[in-house]
């Protein structure tokens, strides 16, 4: 007798990935797909793909999806949720998308307390365009537009979006996780599920799960070292845990 213990979620396509080896997006996609299956909400979930490495998220997630302009996902999600209040609406955003060009949209979606979920994949770099500095880039971290490392006196300190957003009354659930090891990946899944469940239950308020995610290519590290870097370095600036809710 054999027991099936692991299989591909229905909400995830079986296809080759365009993501780099060791990238966190694939894991994040899978966690979303598993959650959608487990909550049985595939028929009423709409995902929003951002501009960035995950612009092609709709090639992996087997659900209705829209691709939107850089940074505007929370505004698009607002428009969708307001006309489809019975649907689970989630925006999938990177750190350049969410914390830089889309700063106004994310702040005001949280401020209005839109009943949406934002999956914020923070890898502290612009991946798609070739490794430029992001608002979340760590102090001293080398990027193609800060070749000598981020200097906080010139370029500012890394933006802690989860902390910033959590002070807003409209934001009712915010948690920061990391996809570094099985325990943390399970915590991330739990957080995503909790956020979606809140929408499903009609709980008012803006939900965000920030995921610290490795970018071995533009961190110039091996996949193993990249995960170690999250645990040992990134979490000092971006501490894990529930900030709200």
């Amino acid at each position: 007798m054999s027991t099936l213990v692991y299989e591909k979620p229905e909400s995830l396509y079986d296809r080759k990935t365009h993501y780099c080896p060791g990238c966190g997006h694939g894991v994040a996609h899978r966690l979303i797909a598993e959650t959608i299956d487990e909550l049985d909400i595939r028929h009423k979930t709409i995902g929003i793909a951002p501009v960035g490495c995950s612009v092609l998220a709709y090639n992996y997630l087997n659900i209705d999806m829209v691709e939107v302009a850089h940074g505007r996902a929370p505004a698009v999600a607002t428009g969708m949720k307001r006309v489809k209040p019975d649907h689970i609406i989630f925006a999938y955003q990177g750190d350049g998308d969410l914390a830089s060009i889309g700063c106004a949209e994310i702040m005001h979606a949280a401020h209005r307390g839109e009943d949406i979920t934002v999956i914020f994949v923070n890898n502290a770099i612009y991946g798609m365009t070739g490794g430029q500095m992001a608002p979340t880039t760590m102090v001293g971290q080398i990027a193609s537009t800060c070749p000598n490392g981020r200097d906080p006196l010139k370029e500012g300190y890394p933006m802690q979006m989860a902390e910033i957003l959590s002070i807003m009354p409209g934001a009712t659930y915010i948690e920061r996780c990391a996809i570094t090891d099985p325990a943390n990946i399970r915590k991330t899944k739990k957080a995503i599920k909790h956020a979606f469940q809140r929408q499903l239950d009609g709980e008012n308020g803006f939900n965000m799960v920030e995921i610290l995610s490795p970018c071995p290519t533009y961190w110039r590290m091996s996949p193993v070292d990249a995960k170690k870097h999250i645990t040992e370095q990134m979490t000092k600036t971006f501490p894990l845990g529930k900030l709200k809710g």
């Binding site: 092609l56 939107v68 428009g79 307001r82």
Partner: protein, 351 residues
């Protein structure tokens, strides 16, 4: 229901949109269109529909994009500087083929300009306005009644051709109060195939709303499909009004509020025995080039009158293609041509 009431252009446009089946309005304050979001903020909740005051014009057009992607009738309104901000979203709406209605009550520019009436956004409204090879239908009324009437057409055309449609007025049409029956053109929304819309995923493969097309020739083929659609619109959706053009020695071409000024000047000219007619484009895009070309030649002259320094006149010249002389008169920056000045220009052309 069919009684006329006094409303300003902004209010009439807003109520007509509601009557046309608007599901969701998203807007941001800017003069001279503020009565639209204000009216919507009161009326949309009364109807159980969506009103959101967005954080910016950029957010508003993206909220429209989101609502439209689910198949809802969605709209935003603004005025010139705000419309510039919306251009990113309008390009995405065109690329993703989403129906939506955008109202532009034009004011003086460039830059912050002023809050006075203007027609200086003609180029922007008729050449796509944002990045990429696209056009959108642009409808221009010249009275509060016609602005209201055009809202019904705007939503139907947006659905029919799956793309953004712009309704264009100016600071005068926005603020001017006239008797209007906003129900005059009320009809059930056209039924179009919305199987592309997001949500309620059952017994079908997922829908993707997208303007990104990678791979060899994929974007080119998408563009060719858009261009084919634009050609159908050019061939079938041109609208205009020609008044006393048959015997005219001079045809004044003017749209929107400029056509009201022009028609007053033409009336005076006719009283003086001058044979002058009015050609009024209602679709600025597609521009009524063929009807103008048909009127050209035969010793006839044209005079374009605008609240700009000469934007639509370029389309008139392209249409006439050298067959007749085309003159221009316009004022902008918030100044409005007077009837007397237009009359003087008419007389000068017919000396």
């Amino acid at each position: 229901m069919s009684e006329k009431v006094l409303m300003c252009g902004n209010e009439a446009v807003a109520e007509a949109a509601i009557q046309a089946g608007l599901d969701a309005f998203f807007g941001y304050p800017i003069t001279p269109q503020n009565e639209i979001p204000e009216y919507m903020s009161r009326r949309m909740p009364e109807e159980g529909r969506v009103f959101v005051q967005s954080e910016s014009e950029i957010a508003a057009i993206n909220m429209v994009y989101g609502a439209a992607a689910t198949g809802a009738r969605a709209m935003t309104s603004s005025s010139s500087p705000g419309i510039s901000l919306k251009q990113e979203g309008i390009s995405y709406l065109a690329g993703s083929q989403l129906p939506a209605v955008i109202v532009n009550m034009m004011r003086g520019g460039p830059g912050l300009g002023n809050i006075e009436p203007s027609q200086s956004d003609y180029f922007q409204a008729t050449r796509g306005g944002g990045h990429g090879d696209y056009y959108h239908i642009a409808l221009a009324g010249n009275s509060v009644q016609e602005m209201a009437d055009l809202m019904y057409d705007a939503f139907d055309l947006a659905d029919k051709y799956r793309g953004p449609v712009m309704v264009i007025g100016d600071g005068i049409l926005a603020q001017m109060i006239e008797p209007v029956d906003v129900f005059a053109k009320k009809r059930p929304p056209i039924q179009t195939d919305k199987s592309w819309a997001l949500g309620n995923l059952k017994d079908r493969s997922p829908n993707i709303v997208n303007s990104l097309f990678l791979g060899d020739n994929v974007l080119e083929n998408h563009n060719l499909r858009l261009q084919a659609k634009y050609q159908i619109i050019r061939d079938t959706e041109v609208r205009f009004e020609a008044t006393d053009t048959e015997d005219a020695d001079l045809i004044v071409v003017a749209y929107g509020i400029a056509s009201r000024i022009a028609s007053s000047a033409i009336r005076k000219a006719r009283k003086k025995g001058l044979k002058v007619g009015l050609f009024r484009p209602i679709t600025l895009w597609p521009f009524p080039a063929k009807p103008i070309a048909a009127l050209a030649g035969q010793g006839r002259k044209f005079l374009a009158v605008e609240l700009s320094y000469g934007q639509m006149v370029e389309d008139v010249r392209l249409a006439v293609n050298g067959a007749s002389p085309v003159d221009f008169y316009g004022r902008a920056g918030g100044s409005v041509p007077t009837v007397e000045a237009v009359l003087e220009k008419i007389e000068e052309n017919l000396k």
